[in-house]
């Protein structure tokens, strides 16, 4: 029986030969991810339900990456880090990346990839909706709440409904002014913020496979913005090279059968697409940058699991080299590793960090920072009637802080070009 890649991963994790969309199955979980916002309540529920002396099902499979509220004076946020630290010590969790130590990494979805936790064919659940990011590695990744995570901590299993799959094929050669962010915003404008609810979003086509891993992660990252259960991209040589450079753990590669059934199929030619933004206040409120060019902005923000990876900064540096920003521009590398790359990678004789500093950008420490607003002292948090152009993933009211602010979601090229002019600007004006 023909199956999609997502069905095959479900079947493997449920010890079955095949599974049907709509059927609920118990999955064996390969990795459970949590962080400082949802870890403490998850651990509370775990102890309440399994007993104060209960042990997690497999300490190797629990990955704890604090990343949300790190560089803040907020005492409750500090207490959450203390609670993670205490639980990790009690449970002897080897994969805890403590704040204030050289083990600290930064944004969990990017760190998972860097540290070799993303393995093709595996099942990852995380207490964060952007856990779908890891689908770029031909694996299943999906977000869950604290109660479900506590259930996994005790049993290593979770029930899940097998999703229908939607297929998005991008043909053609990627133009230099287009990024993965433009592709996913294009899809969101077409299908809406609930266009993929409870479904898998499978990305395919030569343009997708021409992208580096971090760009593929951007595509899968925003599957949740369409309501998707997961985003997924088949494994190729690029995926395998990335994985093998970081881990020697075994993995299994699955591919969709040619006659697999899809809920729906969409085809795009990237050579005909344009840079786009999602206007306030919804990720599906798409407009071409040209159609809204000239809209004044007060801030530009380049960071997060969506738009704070090395490729995002390489692209931004191409535009910011030798220029000055006209508005407050925050550069927030997702992880410590990305921050180190900013200091070591060069473009036309300058490091990326030098390019950003010379342009007048503020470079912040790696964390989720203002992507979700955060405590009042968070770097880049929107205030009053700010109009922000941002490489992050959500722009619902209040998402980056102020309820009265407007956020335009954009590619790093568009965010950089707009930073220079102080108005929404098509990156083709600078390339």
């Amino acid at each position: 029986m023909a199956q999609t890649i997502t069905q095959k991963i479900f079947a493997r994790a449920a010890n079955r030969k095949f599974v049907d969309p709509g059927q609920s199955v118990w999955l064996n979980v390969d990795v459970l991810l949590t962080h400082d916002v949802c870890g403490p309540p998850t651990f509370d529920i775990f102890k309440q339900e399994f007993g104060p002396d209960a042990k997690v099902w497999d300490p190797e499979k629990v990955v704890v990456l604090p990343d949300h509220y790190i560089f803040t004076a907020n005492e409750h946020a500090h207490r959450n880090i203390d609670l993670l630290r205490k639980f990790a010590a009690e449970q002897h969790l080897p994969n805890y990346y403590d704040v204030g130590t050289d083990r600290y990494k930064g944004v969990c979805h990017v760190a998972l990839a860097e540290e070799g936790f993303n393995l093709p064919g595996t099942v990852l659940f995380g207490t964060d909706s952007h856990t779908c990011t890891s689908g770029a590695f031909g694996m299943f990744g999906s977000g869950i709440g604290n109660t479900d995570a506590a259930f996994i901590l005790g049993t290593g299993k979770l029930w899940e409904k097998v999703p229908d799959s939607m297929k998005f094929t991008f043909e053609g050669q990627m133009p230099e002014y287009l990024t993965a962010k433009d592709l996913i915003l294009q899809i969101l404008g077409d299908i809406g913020t609930d266009g993929a609810t409870y479904r898998a979003m499978e990305f395919d086509g030569e343009a997708v496979f021409s992208l580096p891993m971090d760009e593929r992660m951007t595509l899968c990252n925003m599957a949740i913005e369409a309501g998707g259960m997961n985003g997924i991209i088949a494994v190729d040589a690029v995926t395998e090279a990335f994985v093998k450079a970081r881990t020697s753990k075994p993995y299994e590669i699955f591919t969709s059968d040619p006659d697999a059934q899809y809920h729906s199929m969409y085809r795009y030619n990237v050579e005909k697409l344009e840079p786009v933004v999602a206007q306030p206040h919804s990720p599906d409120n798409r407009a071409t940058v040209r159609s809204v060019a000239g809209t004044p902005i007060t801030k530009s923000y380049i960071g997060s699991c969506t738009g704070g990876k090395i490729t995002d900064f390489r692209l931004a540096a191409k535009i910011l080299k030798g220029k000055k920003v006209a508005v407050t521009t925050n550069i927030v590398p997702a992880t410590v590793h990305v921050a180190a790359q900013l200091a070591s990678e060069t473009y036309e004789g300058q490091t990326l960090q030098e390019i950003f500093e010379s342009a007048g950008c503020n470079i912040a420490l790696p964390s989720c920072a203002a992507c979700l607003g955060g405590p009042s002292d968070t770097v880049g948090r929107s205030v009053d009637n700010d109009v922000v152009v941002s490489t992050t993933n959500r722009n619902f009211p209040g998402r980056m802080g102020s309820k009265n602010a407007g956020v335009y979601l954009a590619s790093p090229l568009t965010a950089a070009a707009s930073a220079v002019t102080g108005k929404l600007t098509d990156p083709r004006d600078f390339l």
Partner: protein
């Protein structure tokens, strides 16, 4: 559990995301310390733009300034309620504020799972949009046996979609209670 839930309606629009249900800056409070838990009630739905809260009139807060609980028991909304982040603090905050059920056209997956598996609020789906005909403050009665919603103020009854597969988890009060009743916690460890 009670099969009838009666109380006042609080009406919202579409795509009410988790940042509107409980803004991210409040996620730092403990979900187990009773004094801090009250704050989740205080800030429930505080991220909804003022003019979009308590439709059709708007400008009606779910929780009055200075209070920790809401006078509204049943939330009525459009499609895609609970989209956005995975924070279980969202259905938790609604429960702490005093909400018992949501009647929406559809839900985002993680929010729906959290409502059911955590046993916080009961997420019913409507067969047609109700957030235009029900007004904030109307007295509603939800019958979970008949899957109907009666607007006592307007004297009209609507059919709701049955809860389907999850009704047993909802009735048990959450996934842990359900799993214990059905010996699933043991069997899920063996399989």
């Amino acid at each position: 559990m009670d099969t009838i839930i009666q109380g006042k309606a609080y009406v919202l629009g579409k795509n009410i995301d988790t940042d509107q249900i409980i803004p991210a800056e409040h996620l730092v409070y403990s979900l187990s310390n009773p004094e801090e838990v009250k704050l989740y009630g205080k800030y429930a739905l505080s991220g909804v733009p003022t003019e979009q809260g308590g439709l059709p009139q708007g400008n009606i807060p779910f929780v009055e300034e200075g209070n920790f609980t809401s006078p509204y028991t049943i939330i009525v909304a459009g499609p895609n309620f609970g989209c956005g982040s995975s924070r279980e603090h969202a259905p938790f905050a609604l429960k702490v504020a005093g909400a018992k059920a949501i009647i929406a056209e559809s839900y985002a997956r993680i929010f729906y799972r959290n409502c059911v598996d955590g046993g916080f609020v009961i997420p019913y789906e409507t067969t047609k949009p109700l957030n235009k005909s029900i007004l904030t403050g109307d007295e509603l009665s939800l019958d979970m046996e008949k899957n109907t919603l009666t607007n006592l103020t307007q004297n009209v009854t609507y059919e709701l979609r049955p809860l389907g597969d999850v009704v047993n988890i909802v009735q048990a009060g959450g996934i842990f209670e359900y799993a214990r009743k059905n010996n699933l916690m043991a069997s899920s460890q063996e399989a």
